[in-house]
Symmetry: C2
Subunit: 239 residues, 2 copies
């Protein structure tokens, strides 16, 4: 099966969690909006979100076409792909636990995004910088330690993996979260990550997986930038 991924072409964003799963498993997929004739491809993506076209329209990208099925919401896409790509334990309880963790990843990403957009996505960052500084302060002091401390405990209690005994999509998401945090808040995370030895080791292990390593070295991996979820605005981590 050739999967079709629909997501914004210029950013990692939420789509990256799906890209990492497809790449790690060596799946056959097309990143539709990144095909040549980019403007046209983005238009095609947005057209699919209109209920005149699809009876069950996605609310927002990313979404995945798998045959006739169209699935939106990152965690839901991963829940669907997991068993097909061998990136989740086979048992119902194992899959449910993986999905539960992924939903906590979703919550965390929402909070990451709102560090630079605490007032509205309709405004530029520069129009909400004062509020962004204030939100980021609390985010780094209380929320990052709470979430990452939780993920660290989970991985430490499970021999260094988030779920099961082999690579899962939750491991891939942890890799991406640590990469993103390091990019956005380098000074702060360099200190904080000493408390997450299991997650740091997991990050290395994921990056060294042959398919992931090849992906990260390829042009398909978009660089972090200031249009995505993880943004590096140095003023936000200054005290």
């Amino acid at each position: 099966m050739r999967y079709e991924l629909y997501y914004w072409p210029g950013i990692q964003g939420r789509g990256e969690f799906v890209r990492l799963a497809l790449e790690a498993a060596g799946a056959d997929y097309v990143d539709v909006a990144r095909l040549s004739g980019q403007g046209k491809s983005v238009t095609a993506m947005l057209r699919l979100m209109n209920d005149d076209v699809l009876p069950q329209p996605p609310f927002a990208p990313p979404f995945l076409k798998a045959g006739k099925l169209v699935i939106a919401q990152t965690a839901n896409i991963l829940q669907y792909l997991g068993p097909h790509l061998g990136l989740v334990p086979a048992s119902a309880a194992g899959r449910s636990w993986a999905h539960q963790l992924q939903l906590t990843v979703t919550d965390f990403l929402f909070e990451v995004h709102d560090t630079h957009h605490p007032i509205s996505v309709e405004l530029y960052y520069s129009e909400q910088k004062t509020e962004a500084k204030r939100r980021t302060k609390y985010f780094l002091e209380t929320r990052v330690p709470k979430y990452l401390g939780y993920f660290e405990r989970v991985a430490a209690a499970n021999r260094g993996r988030m779920v099961g005994r082999s690579l899962s999509y939750v491991d891939l998401s942890m890799f991406q979260i640590l990469a993103g945090l390091r990019y956005a808040f380098p000074k702060t995370i360099a200190k904080l990550e000493r408390d997450w030895p299991t997650l740091v080791a997991l990050h290395h292990k994921v990056a060294a997986q042959p398919n992931v390593a090849a992906y990260l070295a390829s042009k398909r991996r978009i660089a972090f930038n200031e249009d995505g979820i993880f943004r590096h605005y140095p003023e936000l981590e200054q005290r």
Copy 2:
């Protein structure tokens, strides 16, 4: 099976989406933290979130005990309960679509919460009132029409229900969202809801379902208040 729901005893919050499902289906359940000896019950709830007790600890309430299974994350709990309570279509595609919609409900609730807490959950509302006013302005102008307009389109395209042909947990969530919005922003929603005739009709239909009606009239239904997700601070909807 007697389900055990673990959630904060004094608010509707995210737990209410689970309570509504259990009540609508007439399920046998205990709302653990609301048993007599409340302080003790809350302590028992928090103890379960410690990985010394559970190998797969929840990140936050609500969570549900179903036999030996402990499931956290509201949308994940509803995904589990749906088939057991007959509150979701039987097909895999129908269940996935219901869950996808519920994850969009989750996103929306995050945005509702942050209207009164745009900076940090560590601060009181009074300490972030200025930012709350600014965020609420954009929330009511752009986000509410976007989300509710989407849900309206979905229900209108499906004969007045969110999924399938009979009551689902997504219908119950829509009931709760409209109730909450009306409580929090009465003046604004009175105008906006004219654009959502299908959702308003669905709200009435859900409220009239005998089990739901009995629940809403009972003491088990906690009143909306200023500790929950939907809070009525009149100054936030003033222009």
